[in-house]
């Protein structure tokens, strides 16, 4: 085959290719034109982006408007029943499930108070005398509000719950180190793992006001936990895993169904509307032990103000 023959054949192929491409382009143009003419305006149209108004609504059926929960952190060691050891953390939490507001009243563990049937003693001793029911009475007498529920957990239990939540974010007022336990929390925002959360709730020696500030830190931990949980509620199964962890790591007489409904109601409370106050007092001694003489009138005022609507009218 000569070179000129090959060239003419290639030219012929190129010509057919060009003709084909023209035909294809023309046909596609016809298709598009026909489609534009005959396709009715679709009733449903997907757009790549749009600004859409979103309306939201939420509500939870709970049989109480105000719920008071006594949260106790027991210093029971692994294997010991939490209700037979002293309570290191004592927080009376009042939640208004209608308004989403709430209060936390922190009780210093060394508060020297009358314990029903036992005379006067440190309030955390009520736990060893009569378990959570006696603690509920002692704290109730101090603040003038009876808790509806008592939750008791341990160091291990707290860590397990924080672990299940995937850590918590807290705001710390102080840079905290403690000579008696390892750990460090810096001032400001902290993301705490389970061990750090326990440290944050227990450390007190480096705090300016010792046990009072520790109680405030426990409130910061509760607030941070609530915020963290709320931010993850849209993760499938997160809420259920959390409630299961609470079931396994706290001592409560609520049935699982009651706990499930209560927990769902609690998540409606907004962390920024959860105010915390710690009952003040002065230091003293009793029987050679250092104690806190609580400001009972302030404790009663806080309880009275928050009893029915979950707010402190006059602050702490």
């Amino acid at each position: 085959m000569t070179a000129s023959t090959r060239t003419s054949r290639l030219d012929a192929r190129r010509g057919r290719g060009r003709a084909y491409r023209w035909r294809r382009t023309a046909l596609l143009a016809v298709v598009l034109a026909v489609a534009a003419l005959v396709v009715p305006d679709p009733s449903l149209r997907s757009t790549p982006a749009s600004l859409v108004k979103v309306d939201r609504a939420d509500g939870v059926d709970h049989d109480r408007r105000m719920v008071w929960v006594l949260v106790l952190g027991s210093d029971a060691r692994p294997g010991d029943p939490p209700w037979r050891s002293r309570a290191d953390a004592i927080q009376m939490v009042g939640l208004n499930l209608e308004t989403g507001r709430g209060v936390m009243i922190g009780v210093p563990r060394d508060s020297y108070v009358p314990i029903p049937g036992r005379g006067s003693d440190k309030i955390n001793a009520a736990m060893t005398y009569g378990g959570p029911p006696l603690m509920a009475r002692a704290v109730g007498d101090l603040v003038g509000v009876r808790p509806d529920y008592v939750f008791t957990t341990t160091f291990e239990g707290l860590q397990s719950m924080v672990y299940t939540a995937g850590g918590v974010v807290v705001q710390s007022r102080f840079d905290i180190t403690d000579p008696k336990m390892p750990g460090h929390v810096r001032q400001g925002r902290n993301r705490l793992d389970a061990r750090e959360a326990l440290f944050f709730s227990r450390a007190r020696y480096a705090l300016p006001r010792g046990d009072f500030d520790r109680s405030a830190n426990q409130q910061a931990l509760l607030r941070g936990t609530l915020a963290t949980v709320r931010s993850r509620l849209d993760r499938p199964g997160f809420f259920e895993r959390g409630v299961l962890s609470v079931l396994r790591n706290t001592n409560t007489d609520l049935s699982p169904v009651e706990l499930y409904r209560l927990a769902r109601a609690v998540t409606k409370v907004r962390p920024d509307r959860l105010r915390g106050c710690v009952i003040g007092g002065s230091f003293g001694t009793a029987g050679g032990a250092s104690i806190v003489i609580p400001d009972v009138s302030t404790a009663r005022r806080l309880g009275n103000e928050a009893r029915n609507d979950g707010t402190f009218e006059r602050g702490c």
């Binding site: 192929r13 057919r16 084909y20 294809r24 046909l27 596609l28 298709v31 026909v34 489609a35 005959v38 396709v39 009715p40 305006d41 679709p42 009733s43 449903l44 149209r45 997907s46 757009t47 790549p48 982006a49 749009s50 600004l51 859409v52 108004k53 979103v54 309306d55 939201r56 609504a57 939420d58 509500g59 939870v60 059926d61 709970h62 049989d63 509620l233 849209d234 499938p236 199964g237 997160f238 809420f239 259920e240 895993r241 409630v243 299961l244 079931l247 049935s255 699982p256 169904v257 499930y260 409904r261 769902r264 109601a265």
Partner: protein
């Protein structure tokens, strides 16, 4: 050395191009025959492919509720026996289909399957918990284009689930506009069976605007 057929192939339109032409022609035919609904089919939007029930789910013994909202248990905290899981999924599907049909398709406010207080709360929030804002009140009732429910269950014991969160996604149309309802329904077992005791719902697109979101999950329901 080139194949003897190579020159013939080169002289014909490439196979890919032929396919393009065929697809284009088919598209025209489908568009002519199918009208607007075909637009969605071609765009890959699977929301409008209703499925009657979950695979393996028998038809509802109580009769056709009118809408299908496939319901699947996707998370279990604790342990749940397979039979209990199937039973729960079916109970929740029936409950939620009745709610969707009454509230969104029927624009009703009976809230079947809700506790008394949850029903009162839901009536307060009827703009979102029902379809009353969808389309004109005297126009055609809303149509459920697709729906799906994903359930997370708390079950401390294998045969005793104690609570469930139903993550809901519904796509409805009314008078030419599309609305999407997303959110959660909270349920626990009661003496009357499982009941909704709480909700957290959002409705987008109500009032004539169009939601551009697309269904990512292939499982979808719709009006039967």
């Amino acid at each position: 050395m080139r194949s003897p057929h190579a020159s013939d192939d080169a002289s014909r339109p490439p196979a890919r191009s032929r396919r393009t032409l065929v697809v284009a022609l088919v598209a025209v035919v489908v568009l002519l025959l199918g009208g607007g609904a075909a637009v969605l089919a071609l765009s890959g939007d699977e929301e409008d492919a209703p499925t009657a029930t979950e695979p393996g789910e028998p038809a509802d013994e109580k009769g056709d509720p009118g809408v299908a909202v496939p319901t699947r248990v996707v998370r279990v905290a604790g342990k749940l026996h397979p039979a209990a899981e199937r039973r729960l999924a079916k109970q929740l599907r029936v409950l939620l289909e009745e709610y969707v049909e009454d509230a969104y398709v029927g624009r009703g406010k009976a809230f079947p399957g809700f506790t008394d207080k949850a029903r009162r709360l839901a009536r307060r929030d009827a703009d979102v918990t029902t379809g009353r804002r969808l389309g004109a009140g005297d126009g055609e009732p809303p149509v459920l284009r697709s729906g799906r429910v994903r359930v997370a269950v708390l079950s401390p014991r294998p045969r005793q689930p104690v609570g469930a969160t139903a993550a809901v996604r519904l796509v409805l149309t009314a008078d030419g506009s599309r609305s999407t309802v997303t959110g959660q329904l909270h349920l626990t077992p009661t003496r009357r069976g499982w009941q909704v005791f709480g909700y957290e719902l959002a409705m987008s697109g109500a009032g004539g605007r169009v939601d551009a979101s697309t269904e990512k999950d292939g499982t979808s329901g719709g009006n039967r």
